[in-house]
Symmetry: C5
Subunit: 86 residues, 5 copies
């Protein structure tokens, strides 16, 4: 997983039918040589702007949705505790 | 997913039989440290040149086509709303 | 797999239900042009801070957990021997 | 997929039994920030040196071979038309 | 696949049970913009130090082991012929 910060919502009215109802967030990878990489991740946890999150990518991201038929390759799977320093 | 801009069509007359009839678009990744990365993605949504799209990669891209037997690793899964600023 | 050094714990109280009980470690990739890349990996082996570990990524990381339904894309699969120089 | 140029053959007499009979080509990624990345891809289409090809990577590359048991992570899936400018 | 050079053994006494008996090699990616990237790959072919090998990554690497339950994301699948210049 990657540590990332939620920086914005992404709105896409025209999209795959299987994606309707999902919330898309723009997240920015934190730390290390990948810092600043932007990913659009599905959020089912309710992350807020500025929160640090765990982002899971690839086929594993579909596991977050509990179904295997959605074209999703990144999902927020956890919110890093505020007092977790790293 | 990645945010990208549609910049061109890609034509390939000789290709895998399972790809016949699919539309290939050249997209350029937007923002972050991956900005400028080029990907060729299948489009089933009808994205136009200059539009900003959500691109799904890896095995999840095959979910966009509703079949698992196609050699496709990138697909446009949504079109970002024009008034979505990020 | 990647060689990486364990540098910290990651705490996420709010997370996917399937992740409850798993230990998350921040690891830093060692050597080569990826040196300094940060990954958050699940640890089921009991790696300690400062230890060098083998990190497996992608769908293969789920094999470390013996179940395929968890949204995990990185796992510590081994601890590199202290006297293994490279 | 990636756009790449075929630049050489790769010969490997000692290899996995399931790879016997497959043709391996060295391709160089074209354009964008990945330009110059080298990939060894299986070719079942008959691409020639200097031709621009579509390369599919990851699990989707196995779909090109119509079997799921081969250790192949990159395959040429199409040849870009000569008059396709991008 | 990637072309890489075998540069060392990696020893990990504590590891996943399913990895016991496998040989791990440190390989360095050759050529292109990824040159110098280090990967730890399972070797079942008997590659020697200094040899140039084909490395398969991701889920396809598990195909080299003939089983799908091992947490392995990179495997040596062939040895590039000595007289193959590229």
């Amino acid at each position: 997983m990657l540590a990332a910060k939620v920086i914005d919502n992404i709105w896409a009215t025209r999209k795959a039918e299987s994606l309707v109802g999902l919330k898309f967030m723009l997240v920015e990878v934190l730390g290390g040589v990948d810092a600043g990489r932007l990913i659009i991740a599905v959020d089912t946890i309710g992350a807020g702007f500025g929160e640090r999150v765990l982002v899971c990518t690839g086929s594993s991201a579909r596991r977050m949705l509990g179904r295997d038929d959605v074209p999703v390759d990144a999902a927020i799977v956890g919110i890093i505790d505020e007092d977790c320093l790293f």
